[in-house]
């Protein structure tokens, strides 16, 4: 009697185990099965889009007579005009000729790994070389060759090397000093949370300059303390 009862109880336990393992195993599989097709199609469309972009970047088929050509699209992707310079200007022209991302991608400009156009690289490789001033009498001022090491506040994040060179290529000193940054090393109590909210570097980066997506683009100088701690 005793033997049979323990036998029975172990059977019950085994059965319940089997049932609930089955339950536990099948539900995630079902969820996964329903999740994967969507993910696959998404991946496919994502894979298809860059391929298309690349295709246009390598061999841009810009037909000036075609009003649907990317160079005639406005910022919303609609045809901005009819492609005929003799006809009256389009709405986009009147709105100040908004630049259109698709035309930029067709121009094959260098991009970083996040798909963002790398304007600094464009300048360094002299793909564009804007004049210093519209006034021919203005004397050209060479960019300031001065890198500033800004220590990251956290112990584990690499320090920032701030290049004056690229910034003074585009801007004059008064744009940043002393309004945004006090011109003295260590006197600006910068923080990443503040920058994200649009203070300090965030006054431009994320708005008119490259966004904060690529941390390593600024946080590039390894921290010695952190490397020791590893």
């Amino acid at each position: 009697m005793k033997v049979s009862s323990t036998c029975k109880s172990s059977k019950v336990a085994l059965l319940s185990l089997l049932v609930f393992f089955g339950f536990a195993v099948t539900t995630p599989v079902k969820e996964a099965a329903s999740a994967t097709p969507a993910a696959k199609t998404k991946a496919k469309t994502e894979a298809a889009a860059p391929a298309q972009e690349k295709g246009t970047a390598v061999a841009p088929k810009l037909d000036p007579t075609d009003p649907n050509s990317v160079i005639y699209l406005d910022t919303s992707g609609k045809p901005a005009g009819i492609g005929d310079p003799n006809k009256p200007p389009s709405m986009a022209f009147q709105a100040g000729r908004g630049w259109h991302p698709q035309a930029l991608s067709a121009a094959g400009l260098p991009r970083d790994r996040y798909g963002l156009i790398d304007w600094a690289k464009i300048v360094r490789e002299k793909l564009v070389s804007p004049k210093f001033s519209l006034n021919p009498q203005d004397e050209e001022m060479p960019p300031l060759q001065m890198n500033v090491l800004i220590a990251a506040k956290g112990d584990f994040v690499d320090d920032v090397i701030y290049p004056h060179e690229m910034h003074t290529y585009w801007l004059k000193c008064e744009v940043c000093h002393p309004g945004i940054f006090v011109p003295a090393a260590g006197q600006n109590n910068m923080s990443m949370t503040g920058i994200v909210q649009g203070n300090w570097c965030g006054r431009c980066h994320g708005k008119v300059a490259f966004p904060l997506t690529d941390c390593k683009r600024c946080h590039s100088s390894p921290k010695k303390a952190a490397s020791k701690a590893k």
Partner: protein, 113 residues
């Protein structure tokens, strides 16, 4: 007799609980001193949110060890493409970017908690 049912009940309740790995939220605060220097609070990782989109073996054990103490997560590693910043994760166009401090860290202006 009652004992038998109790044992059965134990398996009914305990086995699914273990196999589902019910992990609603995990608090990550082993680098709290450094976090405070940077002006942010600990991270609350919403496991349930990630479970909805990914299978366990998408992240475990390749990206994150299942043992909490074995993951030396830091922003430096995230930036370098490890842990949260792995390919197709928060250092790629597929998920929100690493600079959005307030979406993971608590105690940041703009954070939910």
């Amino acid at each position: 007799m009652a004992k038998r049912y109790f044992i059965a009940l134990f398996f009914v309740l305990a086995v699914p609980a273990v196999s589902f790995g019910v992990q609603a939220e995990i608090k990550l605060d082993d680098k709290i001193a450094s976090m405070h220097k940077a002006g942010v609070g600990p991270v609350i990782f919403p496991h349930a949110k990630h479970e909805k989109v990914y299978k366990c073996n998408d992240c475990h054990p390749k990206i994150f060890s299942e043992k909490r103490t074995e993951n030396n997560i830091s922003m430096k590693f995230n930036m370098e493409g490890k842990y949260c910043g792995s390919a197709n994760c928060h250092n790629s166009p597929k998920a929100f970017a690493l600079f959005e401090c307030a979406r993971c860290h608590t105690g940041v202006p703009g954070a939910k908690k």
